[in-house]
């Protein structure tokens, strides 16, 4: 299954599930990354650093190890 890190810049996907546990799980969902939400990858910091994702009209930057925990629905969008 693809996760957020699999999105190229400009590409969009739909959240299927969040696998992070504990506080980070709740934080990601509170930021709007709930199942069904559309997410677009907008920016990538150089050197494998953070990536910025557009979700529900806001932009949230995540580290790769956290972005990995947001799984996407199969099939491509946008």
């Amino acid at each position: 299954m693809r996760d957020l890190t699999g999105l190229n810049i400009g590409e969009e996907g739909r959240v299927a599930w969040v696998t992070a546990r504990g506080g980070m799980r709740r934080r990601l969902m509170d930021l709007g990354l709930t199942p069904g939400a559309r997410v677009r990858c907008l920016l990538a910091a150089p050197g494998g650093g953070m990536r910025a994702y557009g979700v529900r009209g806001t932009v949230v930057a995540l580290r790769a190890k956290d972005a990995e925990t947001v799984l996407l629905e199969e099939g491509r969008h946008g």
Binding site: V18, A20, G23, M24, R25, R26, R27, L28, M29, D30, L31, G32, T34, P35, A37, L42, L43, A45, P46, G47, G48, G49, M50, A52, V55, R56, G57, T58, V59, V60, A61, L62, R63, K65, D66
Partner: protein, 677 residues
Amino acid sequence: MDERRVIALAGNPNVGKSTVFNALTGLHQHTGNWPGKTVASARGTCRHNGRQYTLVDVPGAYSLWAQSAEEEVALEAVCFGGAEAVIVVCDGTCLERNLNLVYQVMEITPRVVVAVNMLDEARKKGVRVDLKALEKQLGVPVAGVCARAGKGVGEILEKVEQVLQKTPVPRRAVYLEAVEKAAQSLAADIAPWLDCLTDARFAALRLLENDPCFLRELEKRKPLSEECRAQIEKAREALALPDLSDHLVAAVYRAAEDCCRAAVTRPEDTGNRQWKIDRVLTGRVTGAAAMLGLLCLVFFLTLKGANAPSRWLGAGFAWLGEKLEGGLNALGAPPFLRSLLLDGVYGTLSQVISVMLPPMAIFFPLFTLLEDLGYLPRIAFRLDGIFEKCRACGKQALTMCMGFGCNAVGVMGCRIIDSPRERLIAVLTNAFVPCNGRFPTLIAMMTIFFAGGGLGGTALSAGMLTGLILLSVGVTLGMSYLLSVTVLRGVPSSYTLELPPYRAPQAGKVIVRSVLDRTLFVLGRAAAVAAPAGLVIFLLSHIPAGEGTLLTALVRLLSPLGRLMGLDGAILAGFLLGFPANEIVLPMILMIYTAGGTLADVSNLSAVGEILRANGWTAVTALNLMLFSLFHFPCSTTCITIYRETGSAKWTAMAALLPTLVGMLLCMVVHGIALIL
């Protein structure tokens, strides 16, 4: 007259909550365009239709399911703070995400007013918010606001009055029937025990979810009774829904989506231009160039702009000093007292102000401008990769930038870092970057020994300064890593960073605010320590000890260590006596050389250069002084701040010791190399 009614002001981070608060209360809470500016609840009062209200500015929170210190404060304020109504400020450009908090607050109290801010910005982006439809969807009053322009603020209070008179019926998010039933029945069970501490259904939901933060806040007020514990346990088992928390957020967001579908129209793909700009500003080469260029520009403007005003202030203080002397003479003050007051206290004070005020009055507005623009989170975004490799948090880049202005401010800013380990790293390493107080010393050294004066010289100085700053950033990163693998062992934690849209700064307000809030604040603090420090220095240099004075004895004592570091005893004494404020280090050194009892005037650099060279200074001495200025114990204000923030004498000592050891080591290495060459 009834007593003041308490109204809480909540909202997501960076939605202009502080701006609304300021507009309502007339207070000048510092605002900036990055999440996490408000780290503690501020209080203010306002008046509407002859009624007094106490307004509590709650720290920004994405959710009341608290994940950070600020959010815990927010939960406490909204849930247990005794507020009679809650204003939730929302960003009109991204209402859907903001509604998450609105729905959460509506579970605690029905007396909610939603203030949709930044409507002007939303309109520019083609986002239209139908306030009437929103009101209908939410069931609570909605006010449209452009807080920056001061529009619609009165309407908020109008609506607050409305909900206080007649409690509205909010349309809450709809949960599964089983969840709703379980919550209702648990609420009924615990209601007698809860005794109106907070809404029973809300508490029941949180207890079913097993939210550790809510439980902590609740038990602070009233430890859970055995009976309650059993009831909660039973209700949890009966519900048997392990993913309850997921269900609740998802339900809230479904409600928010429905709400926005009815009340908000937005064009597909807003703000594409911004991301093109951002790709440049955070790119590998372009991003680094932009960062360095901006840094260089800020320092150039600060240095170039500060020269003339510094001289004017110096001249002004000299003139005033003569008048004061005349006055004291006329009063018949004894010569010692006159000298003590004028040369000791007044001299130090005027020196600190004339050296400090102009650069700060330029640096802080420039910094605030970048802050308002929204550039700072981009720096954190761009640099996070490096900080992650050093097992620290990218937000440390922000506190580091604040440290350039004032280390005490930077240390305080570390509260935005959620992980305690990473916060401590940021606190301990903040003084590794030079604050404004150290720039004059660095620049004087560069001008006298390396770059020379004139416009070209200033440009060269700014370039060299940037080099020194890169060195300090490098050492900060190295130190962070070192701490992460030794005393503060741990792996980088998870965190999220919101990138706000760029916003045009409000130039006028920026200048007024940064001068009032930061410049005068820092200056006041520095002046408060400079006056007594002047007194101490004066006494030290006048109380005889052995053949000389206490001061010469101190210099003699420090001399061997100073020579080992390629410096001398006078320089080290200058740093020690400059503990109250870094800006007085160089004047202090000059004072020791010239054996005067007062701080020397450092505005005439060629004269300063002559004195220094006459005392055996070379380029190596100047280089070592710059290094030690970069890396030595933080000033007294910063030390006090570190103690307050960490609550530990051990960590404060560590924060003072670490940079000092690094500085001593570097100086010795440079001195050694210079001896060999």
